[in-house]
Symmetry: C2
Amino acid sequence: MRFRYLGLLPVILFTGTVCLAQTNQITSVEDFKPASSNQPGKQYPQVNSEGLVRASISAPQAQKVQLDIGGVRYDLVKDDKGVWTGDSRPQDEGFHYYQLNIDGAQVPDPGSMFFYGASRWGSGIEIPAKDQEFYALKNVPHGQVRENLYFSEITQAWRRCFVYTPPDYDKNVSYRYPVLYLQHGMGEDETGWPVQGKTNLILDNLIAEKKAVPMIIVMDKGYASKPNQAQNPAGPSRGSGGISTFEEVLINEIIPMIDVTYRTLTDRGHRAMAGLSMGANQTIQITMNNLDRFAYIGGFSGTSNFPNTTEIDPVTFMNGKFKDGEALNRQIKVFWLGLGTKEPDPFPGSVGAFRAMLDKQGIKYVYYESQGTAHEWLTWRRDLFQFAQLLFK
Amino acid sequence: MRFRYLGLLPVILFTGTVCLAQTNQITSVEDFKPASSNQPGKQYPQVNSEGLVRASISAPQAQKVQLDIGGVRYDLVKDDKGVWTGDSRPQDEGFHYYQLNIDGAQVPDPGSMFFYGASRWGSGIEIPAKDQEFYALKNVPHGQVRENLYFSEITQAWRRCFVYTPPDYDKNVSYRYPVLYLQHGMGEDETGWPVQGKTNLILDNLIAEKKAVPMIIVMDKGYASKPNQAQNPAGPSRGSGGISTFEEVLINEIIPMIDVTYRTLTDRGHRAMAGLSMGANQTIQITMNNLDRFAYIGGFSGTSNFPNTTEIDPVTFMNGKFKDGEALNRQIKVFWLGLGTKEPDPFPGSVGAFRAMLDKQGIKYVYYESQGTAHEWLTWRRDLFQFAQLLFK
């Protein structure tokens, strides 16, 4: 929740300053269309070419109805039929969680599809992005997204992961594939990457253009706790270099299960891990603890020193895992970090301090900036698009 | 929508008569627990051992908040913190769609998971059933549910289907499997069977007990329209024996796509079709038009004479497809019909007239009654559980 809340603040400040005219609905362009993220046949919410969101709902007896998006609540106005309608200020390109507030009740908008984020299933909306073609559904060969159920002995609980298999997986039955383990952020779950993340479409398009090699992508839930262990998603290892329960589950249960169930390449050179925000923190912890198992590391909008922004001492940080830069450069094929240009504190400072440590240690890494996006899904779709092109080559 | 609406009426009448005491909340048993269909960590809605549903939502400024379930709206009562809470009368065992009404706005309950039915994504709730073990998540080998995207040339649109593959599918790579095509009802879509229907769990359990043979199950969307053709889910063939666009898509696109993508047995003896309500109507139309392709037919809560309840003339009905009972008995391995004992008009009369026609023609069929359930998902889960045990043997 904390990640999400922090992520929304700069959107408020930015749009509040630049786009004040739109709040009076004087200059809004009347080219609103139903959002692509709407339920089938639903006319609202709508989006216009300026990125304004127009919400509308029938609530004849309500006293006050608001659209709650980007951390701002916008009052809707009632017409003589009891239908409330109103616009937000311009939103960033990409995907945003939002909700309606009806006389104090926070509820999903019945016009939108529902997504798991901010620790709830609720409304989300797509603002068309200039580069949306890279995650569009196109006439290219498509892979599958498969739901897998498995029992975790470590946590004594059933777990679920989604697995993307590339288009030719069921045809090339003697071929084995490299694997990317791809993790969501705090308040999200294993549905984040296959749904909001559009992982399958991004990879289908990249593979069709031969920009990425066919790979399997495993999207599991980043939470794990043992029986009678308090639920703590980041685990005991947060920033300490220790072993979290999720790391135990991933290393000892998920990877072996995937390697038995799918035709994988099981050496470290064909295994990658990446994650966003909390998932980036987990990725760096887990890969650095297990460099015998991973050769590719992707941190999207997060690093393992979060939320600290102070200088990192490589001697003590994560038990000295980053002390020997030369050795790491030999072992790690790609160390990749990404950040949106509109991300809020502490992300720029935290990722910046981590980069400064990598620079100081002479550790090679790729750094990517997503232009005009905050701590949200368009940043992470772009991260995956960039990162996937560097894998297993 | 019409199917769904009709389906709820008898529930109202029944519970209104028998359980009047509960409406005054005098005798309700205070053993309420969060529903199994709730979002992670959400305390409401709750269900007690009598099947009462207790809804609760914070809406401090609201004038009136209602729980809308089973076609009845129950007033909730506000406490001094602005939280509204209240109970329904006892609901049938099984799964029900429902919603909240806040000062006239019909919205999903933010405590529940969301399901597609009644032509919208919205709230649903599980009332524990005495026989719920047959669709429980158990420690047995689990198959996968796979999302497949494909382009339909006939409709010039992208379509999606979910495909259940049995537990051993990726291990027995030289084995080929029979296929059941399984269709949802009006106002539902391709998510109905994999989510509300619990198809994967029902089959995983049956296969583990060796009560069903391992099979592939294809769950596609039962709507199809050509460019510039008006959207008409049931198509032009409703009751006429003609060819609907969905039939064209299923026969000419979906089945060939499945037979290329999966290791299927492609003869008629290894292909079944079943569906619920509108999907039952479609199943009977399509299988009878294509007996060279299907040997097993399942009609759950529906037949192709719907909504008629009058005597069927086999000479004219569906272009005489049922005229030669002896020939049909040789061709059809299992003709299966199911109905809930609490289903509303016109289902009992309509299915009854269809059965009378089968009897008159000497056509063998299996008839199953789901005890104490209406035109809802527990009826159809039970239907699948029964029907699947008779397939491909």
